[in-house]
């Protein structure tokens, strides 16, 4: 457990508050001033207990990025990554990655094979890491996206999200993870995958990532629904 600047300041504030409250009680006896120093102790300890780094270790982030790079290599090998459509199958979401947006007839059950064909073109079918049990109890896409990104995985500072009839617009502030470019081109970033999967799960319709761009330290994502299944 390292003591960084923020936590050090917290510790200094707490100790200062402790000394000042003792001096005030012994020498002055002014109760409101004593209360102010006690308040300072609480603030100092609260700062001391606050971690200033993301809980994901650097090694974990590397591990995740390496896993993503494997999927990127598969997409590059088959040259099939230009468009992806998210489809709900029961409590799960599958991404259909192909060169075009024409999907074969979608059945209730997901395809057993990882690669299927539609119009003579190969279609890569990947299961999304987000499924219904992950967002159990959430009825709105925005609150579920916020929960998964900032609380469950803690891979961003905060989320701004707007839900409209046809689209879900998400702005991710200070994303911690990067995604290989080939994955980003085909599936979108990890944030887009999460947003599209949740939108598909909650709305029950097919979805597509319409926009996924990084602007400064923010990532803007637009997920559009593609009509009823």
């Amino acid at each position: 457990m390292t003591l960084d600047t923020y936590r050090s300041i917290g510790l200094i504030i707490a100790i200062s508050g402790l000394i000042l409250s003792a001096l005030t009680y012994i020498l002055l006896g002014i109760i409101p001033l004593l209360a102010l120093w006690i308040g300072l102790i609480i603030i100092g300890i609260s700062m001391y207990l606050t971690p200033s780094k993301a809980p994901l270790a650097k090694e974990t982030v590397i591990l995740l990025e390496n896993m993503f790079s494997n999927i990127a290599r598969v997409i590059e090998t088959f040259s099939i990554g230009t468009s992806s459509i998210y489809v709900k199958h029961g409590d799960e979401v599958y991404a259909y990655i192909s060169r075009h947006e024409n999907l074969p007839r979608i059945t209730d059950n997901p395809p057993k094979a990882m690669i299927i064909t539609g119009d003579g073109e190969p279609i890569l079918v990947l299961k999304s890491p987000i499924s219904k049990p992950v967002i159990e109890g959430y009825e709105e896409a925005c609150s579920a996206i916020d929960y998964v990104t900032t609380e469950l995985l803690n891979i961003a500072d905060s989320i701004k999200c707007v839900e409209e009839d046809e689209v879900v617009i998400v702005e991710v502030k200070n994303p911690y993870l990067s995604t290989p470019s080939s994955i980003e081109k085909a599936l979108g970033s990890i944030y887009a995958i999460i947003s599209a999967s949740i939108t598909t799960l909650i709305r029950g319709t097919k979805s597509v990532v319409e926009k996924d761009v990084k602007v400064g330290n923010r990532r803007r994502i637009i997920v559009r629904k593609l009509g009823e299944r």
Binding site: P32, L34, A35
Partner: protein, 80 residues
Amino acid sequence: MLRDFLSNTVLACLITISTWALWSVGEMRIDAYIALYVLEYTVVKALFRPRRIGLDWLMIVLLIVFSIIVSIRIMEVLYK
């Protein structure tokens, strides 16, 4: 991470404002101040859900202090 830092900032503001408010109405009971600080810490914790290194023992200590304060007040009323 932003909400962790924001929670500490909001807590500092609330404690400063409540101290000023109670001081300005001439409150001289230290337990009144501390009870309000405990309430503010609990509200901030519930609203922002800040992450903590290990157990949030500050919350436990504050709750124990609050329980003692309330118990003393109840005993005062009962045994007056």
